[in-house]
Amino acid sequence: MIRLEGLWKTYEMGGQKLHALRDIDINIKSGEHVAIMGPSGSGKSTLLNILGCLDQPSAGEYFLEDRAVAELGADDLADVRSRKIGFVFQAFHLIPRLDALANISIPMLFAGVAGPERQERASRALASVGLADWSAHRPAELSGGQKQRIAIARAIVMQPSLLLADEPTGNLDSTSGKQVLELLCGLNANGITLITVTHDPSVARLASRVIVLGDGAISREVEGRDVASLDSLFSNVPAEAISEARS
């Protein structure tokens, strides 16, 4: 599904070169659930942005479903984002003036899906995240957990093969976080490839594989169930989350 070969991302700041990503090689199979962890500034979000075709690498190759992303033009990339990739953001990124159904409809709007079909698919997506009765509510009238579930509905409404989640539970209380994780894992169980960037070991634990970044490079790679062994990474993580992950 995803193949990264010798991937670099370099920024120039004040005449100095800063390597956000260094020589990254990753293979992710279709239907896999991968967590990306690492301390702040380790390059997790940069990597996720490149995987989501929101950003381009400075060097190296990115193959998405065996297609070299570097060869795609701006409109092709938009097409890939529209049809193959779903995004779930930590800050939800819902448009405040639109109600839940309209927010979910946005990807279909730009993909040219006709009105009645749009309505029907958005309603189904909303029902699939358990918020069928909240279609007319605007983001300001929803809790954090509900907002994230609507964001997930929006991410899956175009039936993408890849779901990218950037700290999906970062702004949620533990109960809402659990509901959101259950949703994401359910989608993965149904065959969607899930890549999650997280600080939270209890989130990473659910992945089949955890890639740990340090200073822009891959420092370790472990199976999800072994995430608790990465003690050195979690010096800032609450003990509760570590013990939850260990359990």
């Binding site: 701006a74 409109d75 984002r81 995004f87 003036r97 946005i106 730009f110 040219g112």
Partner: protein
């Protein structure tokens, strides 16, 4: 993305910022109002002036003494080598073909009086045909008698204002007035007419042309008006006039102007003036366009993160461009329509207050105002929309 979806998405965004949208709409509406109202005024003035000229008939050829080349001045203002005389007028009446009337005219300004009432007025020496050609009617009494050009008679027809000023409520018919030292009898009072052909008819005294020439010791006529049978004959008659004058004066020392040419020239000037004042209104529309650009720049800046989101969700650059251009177009088009409504309402109000002024905005002005308003939005919105289109999704998503 379907056009209706783009419009709906753009409208939704505008409705979120109601106050800002309303202020931008007002800006465009005021600009459009200015264009519609000023153009309506200008065109009304044009219609009014041309109507006044048309009232005296478009079949007139005006003969004035002198030519620009020979006098060095505008024709009719002295310094001519040969006077235009009553004999010339008689010769023209005899020799011209295809004409209906020849009307000699002379003009002076002097004090007229009746008992203790005095008034300085314009005195026109002419014939009965003058009233026919200009559609002037007597409210009381009669018009000047039909007589030979050279026959003087101590009679006068006075304008309605002169009648009011000199006689108040009394009937002037049969009364004697003084023009300078001459005594003439009032035989008629004209109906109210206002200004016609640059002459304030109501404040004018008309007397036989020979009488006025005698009173003021004049040899030369001020004008000879020649009414042709048909509009199409005007140019041919003009050539005949010049031939007669050359025959009599041994040179072409008159200027002939057809009424149609005057109307055409005047119409052109007034149309240019209308366009000019419409242009002044268009400037305010352009200022409103800058207002739209400002609003759109703020909007793009405020919605950077939203633009990033739209791109992350698959919106193409040109779709983002279309959304923002549509917002600008909606603002300017709605503002333009609002301006058309306000402008035409103001003109309607004006016609109620001043019914004599025929103000109305022509269709071309309405259409071009709306077109201009519709263009203004996208024209000034293109820069902010372009900026939105060019945003990198990852940078925009972070809101920076």
């Amino acid at each position: 993305m379907k056009a209706t979806d783009v419009v709906q998405f753009a409208a939704n965004s505008l409705l979120q910022h109601r106050r800002r949208t309303l202020l931008s709409l007002l800006g465009v509406a005021m600009g459009a109002t200015a264009v519609v109202f000023l153009t309506g005024l200008g065109d009304g003035a044009r219609t009014f002036v041309l109507g006044e000229f048309k009232a005296i008939g478009s079949n007139l050829v005006i003969v004035m003494p002198g030519k620009t080349e020979t006098t060095g001045m505008f024709p009719g203002f002295g310094g001519v080598p040969n006077d235009l005389t009553l004999d010339d007028a008689n010769a023209l009446r005899r020799r011209l073909r295809g004409i209906r009337r020849v009307i000699p005219m002379t003009s002076a300004s002097d004090v007229v009086s009746h008992r203790q009432h005095r008034r300085r007025v314009t005195i026109i020496g002419t014939t009965r045909d003058f009233f026919r050609a200009q559609g002037l009617r007597a409210e009381r009494g009669s018009l000047l008698p039909d007589a030979e050009f050279g026959r003087a008679a101590p009679v006068a027809v006075i304008g309605s204002k002169v009648a009011r000023e000199l006689f108040q409520e009394r009937d002037p018919i049969g009364k004697v007035i003084r023009i300078g030292d001459a005594r003439v009898r009032v035989i008629g009072v004209l109906t109210d007419r206002g200004t016609q052909m640059g002459m304030h008819v109501d404040d004018t005294v008309f007397a036989p042309v020979a009488s006025v020439m005698q009173i003021f010791n004049r040899n030369s006529l001020f004008r000879i008006l020649i009414e042709v049978n048909a509009h199409a004959d005007a140019d041919a008659v003009k050539q005949q006039i010049i031939a007669v004058i050359i025959d009599r004066h041994d040179e072409e020392d008159v200027t002939c102007v057809t009424q149609a040419a005057v109307l055409e020239s005047l119409g052109g000037i007034l149309r240019t003036l209308t366009l000019a004042i419409g242009g002044v209104g268009a400037i305010s529309l352009a200022v409103a366009g800058i207002g739209i650009m400002n609003v759109m720049l703020v909007s793009v800046s405020e919605r950077t993160s939203e633009i990033g989101l739209l791109k992350a969700l698959g919106a193409k650059g040109n779709q983002v461009l279309a959304v923002f251009l549509t917002e600008a177009a909606l603002l300017s088009t709605t503002g333009g329509l609002l301006g058309l409504a306000i402008g035409t309402s103001l003109l309607e109000l004006l016609t109620v207050v001043y019914p004599k002024v025929p103000v109305s905005t022509p269709m071309w002005a309405m259409a071009s105002t709306l077109a201009l308003a519709m263009i203004t939005g996208p024209m000034f919105g293109v820069m902010p929309a372009w900026r939105a289109m060019r945003m990198e999704p990852v940078t925009a998503l972070s809101g920076s």
